[in-house]
């Protein structure tokens, strides 16, 4: 995985030392470089002094509230992608966080794999590939303008939602997308669907994309989610 995902410089602003240590350890293992600030003021100074690929901000910080910090950053013209971590699971809080200028919002407790997937997805946002009109992974091609897809020159018949799902996976080639992320990005759902509905949709997509080919392109990442890549 490390070979398909570029190393990121990440600043984590989190007052709980133990949580931070765990996250830093995990991010280091995934090949990223991490700085840590224990409070909002230090965090703001660090974020202003150096260039990061992503910020991870706890919502409730000593010294400065996480959302106020993001607003200050944005007001100063800093466009670094921000992921907010929050113990507040309330339905309105996510909207508040995004309004303040955050790019993603993750409620505690979370699985580390979910956090990692989201941070890596944020890093990709600034990639020029995001605006590409054609996505290609091995012999799988997706044309975003014509809204068609084909594999090895053979067209694929996809439902609009299947197209969106494949587009989302290909856009994040080599990255893991968790079920929750797919629900948010493809169905615009911020809820818990109980049954593994995403698995069913992926299974249907696999039938169309991978069946009859020697090299599968849609991979299941155990305990995490799904990834489109050439290598398993």
């Amino acid at each position: 995985m490390a070979d398909t995902t570029a190393t990121m410089r990440i600043l984590i602003i989190e007052d709980d030392r133990r949580t931070a240590e765990h996250v830093i350890k995990g991010l280091n293992e995934a090949g990223h470089v991490v700085d840590h600030a224990l409070d909002g003021v230090t965090g703001l100074n660090l974020a202003g002094a150096s260039t990061y690929d992503a910020l991870v901000v706890d919502r409730m910080l000593p010294g400065k509230d996480g959302l106020a910090l993001i607003e200050l950053l944005r007001a100063a013209g800093n466009q670094t992608p921000v992921l907010v971590l929050s113990a507040l699971a309330d339905v309105g809080h996510r909207v508040e966080g995004l309004k303040a200028g955050a790019d993603d919002y993750l409620v505690k407790p979370y699985a580390f794999s979910e956090l990692l997937a989201r941070i890596e997805a944020l890093g990709r946002r600034r990639d020029p590939e995001v605006v590409a009109t054609k996505l290609q992974v091995h012999d799988l091609v997706l044309d975003r303008l014509a809204r068609t897809a084909g594999r090895a020159g053979k067209p694929l018949t996809l439902q609009p939602r299947e197209f969106k799902l494949l587009e989302c996976l290909m856009q994040h080639e080599g990255q893991v997308l968790t079920r929750t992320m797919l629900l948010e990005k493809v169905w615009d759902c911020q809820f818990d669907p109980h049954t593994n509905v995403v698995d069913v949709h992926i299974a249907r997509l696999r039938q169309k994309v991978d069946r009859g080919f020697d090299r599968p392109l849609i991979h299941t990442v155990r305990g995490s989610g799904y990834r489109v890549s050439v290598d398993p």
Binding site: K25, P109, R204
Partner: protein
């Protein structure tokens, strides 16, 4: 305010009864006045007639018939005042008098009074009352009074009575409506307050005027009751909130440690840790759902309600589950009407729609059919009908409560929170969740008010 509804109020009906009693007592009083007044006028007339007869008789007895005739003639020639006179001789010939058409002398009452009709000036026929008195020597003296004055007095009295009655009736009904409106306003204000409490605004209290009247006292008692139930409900929510929150921190740490351990582990230990992580995930989800139900029940999300394209939200949920139904070999009928919008919370509504579809997916057997529909109007209705085992009639209310699971559902995954959340979301949106028999299967109707705040 609606007059017909006002007329149906207790206050108005009581005012009507009061007006009725008032009119009855007014009738009794005025009737009494009328009887007494008429009686006294009658007595006065009678004594005037008797006094005149007495005077005329003494003229006759002292000065003879010629003097009587002369006197009566003088009296009869006076301008008409309603007095009638007649003197007849023994043969019945009229000697003098202003009474024409005298018919007979038979008294028409026990006291010797004769009642008849005379012609007053202007060709008006008037009732008259007279007394005949036989003088010595076969002469007959008749003295009477036309009753015109008395009758006009009676007419005036009757008119007065009718005016008094109608006036009292109009004032009474108008007053009744006014009083009813005043009471109705206060009751309506109380009903509104109660509806708001039922809608989740637990802090709302019934308005009191501070007058200490019976409605204020009732409102005071109900407010005490509301305060007590608010304390109970808040206490219960606080406990579940605290439990869920307090347990989340240690559970998060456990999750962190298990994840760290997973990196080091191999073989069987790895499987065990993965299973523990799965269990933990389920537990955390359960807490999330409990907190979500509490949030919906608290009414707090109302502050962030916005206008939503509910057709799109329901459509997304159906789209998400369509693949699941197809996978389970269940026919799925998507009848979501386009263009329906409402005022609400997007995330909670999406979760409620998904929960209903999820239940249908869990309980509909292979080869079954599920229909999901959304209809506009007020209320807006989202319905999911399945061909599963359904819910027995006596358990349909139970399943809307938290942690209720039917014995038949023990084998399927879940915590008995799905419908409790749907119910809480329905109530937050000014509606309700109705469960019915689809024969066979379940019909779940989620009703939502178009604008729950206004409601």
């Amino acid at each position: 305010m609606d007059l017909r509804r006002l007329a149906g109020t207790t206050a108005f009906r009581q005012s009507l009864i009061y007006v009725g009693l008032l009119l009855a007592s007014l009738g009794l009083a005025l009737g009494g006045v009328k009887v007494v007044a008429e009686r006294s006028i009658e007595t006065e007339t009678e004594s005037a007639i008797l006094a005149e007869i007495d005077g005329l008789r003494s003229i006759y007895e002292q000065r003879g018939i010629a003097a009587l005739v002369e006197d009566v003639e003088r009296r009869a020639e006076q301008p008409y005042r309603g007095s009638v006179y007649l003197v007849l001789d023994a043969t019945g010939q009229k000697l003098v008098g202003n009474l024409t058409g005298w018919a007979g002398t038979e008294p028409t009452s026990d006291e010797g009074w004769i009642y008849f009709v005379v012609e007053a000036p202007g060709d008006v026929k008037v009732d008259a009352q007279a007394r005949a008195f036989a003088l010595g020597g076969g002469f007959l003296l008749v003295v009477g009074r036309a009753l015109a004055a008395q009758e006009s007095f009676e007419r005036a009295l009757n008119r007065g009575l009718i005016i008094a009655f109608v006036g009292a009736l109009v004032v009474g009904i108008a007053g009744g409506l006014l009083l009813a409106r005043e009471t109705e306003r206060r009751i309506e204000a109380m009903n509104l307050a109660i509806d708001r409490v039922r809608g989740g605004s637990l802090e709302v209290r019934l308005p009191q005027r501070g007058a200490g009247d019976e409605l204020d006292r009732l409102a005071g008692r109900i407010n005490q009751l509301l305060a007590e139930s608010e304390a109970l409900i808040r206490g219960m929510r606080q406990v579940t909130d605290d439990v869920a929150h307090d347990l989340r921190t240690p559970l998060t740490r456990i999750q962190t440690r298990l994840e760290e351990a997973l990196d080091e582990a191999s073989g069987e230990a790895r499987n065990i840790i993965e299973e523990a992580l799965d269990d933990l995930d389920r537990l955390l989800r359960l807490f999330r759902t409990v907190l979500l139900i509490n949030t919906a029940e608290s009414g707090a999300p109302k502050q962030t309600f916005g206008s939503l394209d509910v057709s799109a939200i329901a459509g997304d949920a159906c789209d998400l589950y369509e693949a699941v139904f197809e996978d389970q070999d269940v026919a799925f009928d998507n009848r979501v009407a386009p263009g329906v919008s409402l005022h609400g919370n997007r995330a909670l509504l999406a979760q409620a729609f998904a929960n209903l579809l999820d239940n249908a997916a869990k309980f509909t057997p292979e080869g079954g059919r599920v229909t999901a529909s959304l209809h506009g109007g007020d209320p807006i209705v989202f319905t999911v009908t399945d061909t599963g085992p359904g819910i027995p009639a006596d358990r349909r209310n139970d399943v809307k409560r938290r942690f209720t699971r039917l014995d038949s559902a023990r084998e399927t995954p879940g915590h008995g929170l799905g419908l409790a959340l749907v119910n809480a979301v329905a109530r937050l949106h000014g509606g309700e969740l109705q469960l019915d028999d689809a024969q066979p299967g379940l019909i779940a109707r989620l009703e939502l008010a178009m604008d729950p705040i206004r409601r």
